[in-house]
Amino acid sequence: MRFVLLLFLFFTLSATGAPVRTPQIEAELIAERDALVPGEPITVALRLAMIPGWHTYWRNPGDSGEPTRIEWRLPAGFAAGEIEWPVPQRIPVGPLMNFGYEGEVLLLTRLVPPADLVAGRPVTVRARAHWLVCEVHCIPEDVELSLTLPVASRAGPHARWGKPIAAARAQLPVPAPEGWRFDARSEDGGASLAIAPPRGVDLKEAFFLPYEQGKVEPAAPQTLAREGDGYRLALRAAAQPVGPFERASGVLVSPQGPALAIDVPIAARFADLGLVLALALAFAGGLLLNLMPCVLPVLSIKALGFAAAGEAGGSRLKEGLLYSAGVLVSFWLLAALLAALRAGGAQLGWGFQLQSPVAVALLAALFLVLALNLSGLFEFRLSVAGRPAGEFLSGVLAVVIASPCTAPFMGVALGYAVLESGWRAFLVFTALGVGMALPYAALAWFPGWRRHLPRPGAWMLRLKRWLAVPLYATVIWLAWVFAQQVGPAAPAHDASWEPYSAEKVASLAAAGRPSFVDFTAAWCVTCQVNERVVLAREDVLEDFRARGVALLRADWTRRDPEIARALAALGRSGVPAYVLYKPGRPPLVLPELLTRERLLAALDG
């Protein structure tokens, strides 16, 4: 019995190292358990007890100071992790701000003893700790510490330090649990962090502590404002920035919730894109829309209508203008509808009109009618209410049939338009309309251009039949989209691709794995083309596999607020979007026209 008591005493006394005292700090290495178990991780801590008025520093010390550092001297086979920092206090020093600890702090570290450790002899781990302890005056100190622990096959909590270490671990910042959402966006002078807490959580105060110096100004107040169901926190950029401020990476503290470790990219502000650039892109996109498979067949027929008239038609300026008016008014109406719906709180982006099965069905019917018309099986005249109305309506029709297609450049320009609002968005949609109407309007306006059109003949009838084919294909495709939207959710037919979620990307990044997200929709023609021509290829899939890249598909065929938010955070409002997430780097958005070369360049860049 006495022997057992002696053994017990020996265990408890051995499981410590002698504390080292400096005039301001008592420091020691402590362990959560009373023995080392081979192969099992154990939490040890550097305990710093500071006299009143003095403080040490966090991993980001703030305006000045230096974080505490532990250099381990471990026996063979042992491994030690990084310091797991408790939430620091804000310590103002005059007009400046430090992040650190007063009183007592336990800086936790996970230690892993080797699996082949032999029980019997106690083991000593050593460390050289370096810190800066300041009051008004600052003193850097270097101290040698050691911790001796017995080795056993089982260990229980340490009599003295087990509970305090467990309590410290319970209060460490955690990654945001289910129900919390964060987005960050660039603002004038800094950034703002959108916080969407789960229902029932009411934030009255919050503060963001960045992991890195030189990004956020430490002493600046961070105003918290309500925004819809959530909040927005203003982060002022450092007055003397070091490096770009591209990610909001740090700890969000609030008395009303747990300390949350967050790491979100900061989406660019569209004013930076410049209205002029957005207009240029929209105009180019509008021009290119004429070449998209949705629009080209019908537009070609209209153009060939001029060929029939030949130069004799003179300037058809009026027709051209009416058509352009049709195009512009349709774009304005769509923009207004989108703005109204978003103001009502819906998480919508471009292509929203195709997320409704009813709209898809109507479009399919429309394309069917057009195709039948071109095949000569169904006659109707576009100019139902008379020539002028007919031209106007054909402009409207052109926009309607263009909606499944997104031309290159349109994605960025539309992202700008949808997320900025008011007169800027109006101008961008106008530029898009002008670009789209221009080729036909030019043909109408300048009889000389029509000289270059081929002379009419029987070949025109044959051409019409041929051009009906892409339209039939569109009908079949729209029917398939309709089926996707109203049928039950089909199981993933492609095992290489997992369904997308923001949490999945984050957990893959935390595990060090890059991921590639394909934002797509069944009604998006460019998406389908890219998927079949590039993303489904064996060699491309092999490229991804060889680099350990996880493949995620974000299917926006039906409305999905999470996907809409993710697109908005990337500066997009529609699909397709191809995004490469590499751990530790901001997301890379690839161009809408994918090629294997571009993919490889991004993967290896």
Binding site: L96, E187, D188, G189
Partner: protein, 196 residues
């Protein structure tokens, strides 16, 4: 509306003039150890190094005791670079040094700045948003700030390690004088807090 409010708050805050790399360095006047006023514009046309210093700070002492800072001051002085050491410790602070005390300390350490400025109202420090001692700024002959931040890339190190550290001030001046862009133009400064 909220977004506008946030933007306004942030914009208003940033109108406070701070020394930012790439922009003109703010003009100031401060007395030297003999009480004579020294203006930044006195040295237009030359490279100027501003060094925030405080003899009570262990980081400053490390750089002076090892001879690191005095050697750099002499080396750059020989290249006609104007080195101004600034002590912005507020006169109400326990660490405040009078001109005589400062002169004595500088001469003991063999320091060789062009001038040492006593910024007892902390005005120049706040103008430059100096946060630590040491905190270094390099200004080009056109008056533009080309470097702001730490003296070197090793926060706390032995004398030997300091010799192997990358001295950002020496590197920035070397590049600028050779007509090259400054490769590392901004770093986070380290050291004790400036005692405002």
């Amino acid at each position: 509306m909220k977004r506008l409010a946030i933007a306004l708050v942030l914009a208003a805050a940033t109108t406070a003039q701070a020394a930012t790399v790439g922009k003109p360095a703010p003009e100031f006047t401060a007395p030297d150890l003999q009480g004579q006023p020294v203006k930044l514009s006195d040295y237009k046309g030359k490279y100027v190094v501003l060094e925030w210093t405080n003899p009570e700070c262990p980081y400053v002492r490390r750089h002076y005791n090892s001879g690191n800072m005095p050697a750099l001051q002499k080396e750059l002085g020989a290249k006609d670079v104007v080195w101004l050491a600034v002590n912005s410790t507020n006169q109400s602070s326990g660490e405040f040094k009078t001109p005589q005390e400062m002169a004595k300390w500088m001469s003991e350490k063999g320091a060789a700045p062009k001038a040492t400025l006593i910024d007892k109202d902390s005005k120049v420090g706040k103008l430059y948003d100096a946060r630590t001692t040491p905190h270094m700024y390099v200004i080009d002959p056109q008056g533009r700030l080309i470097y702001a931040g730490a003296i070197d890339d090793k926060r706390w190190a032995s004398t030997e390690e300091t010799k192997k550290a990358r001295n950002h001030v020496r590197a920035a001046l070397g590049e600028a004088m050779a007509g090259k862009p400054v490769s590392v133009a901004a770093t986070s400064p380290y050291g004790c807090t400036v005692k405002y």
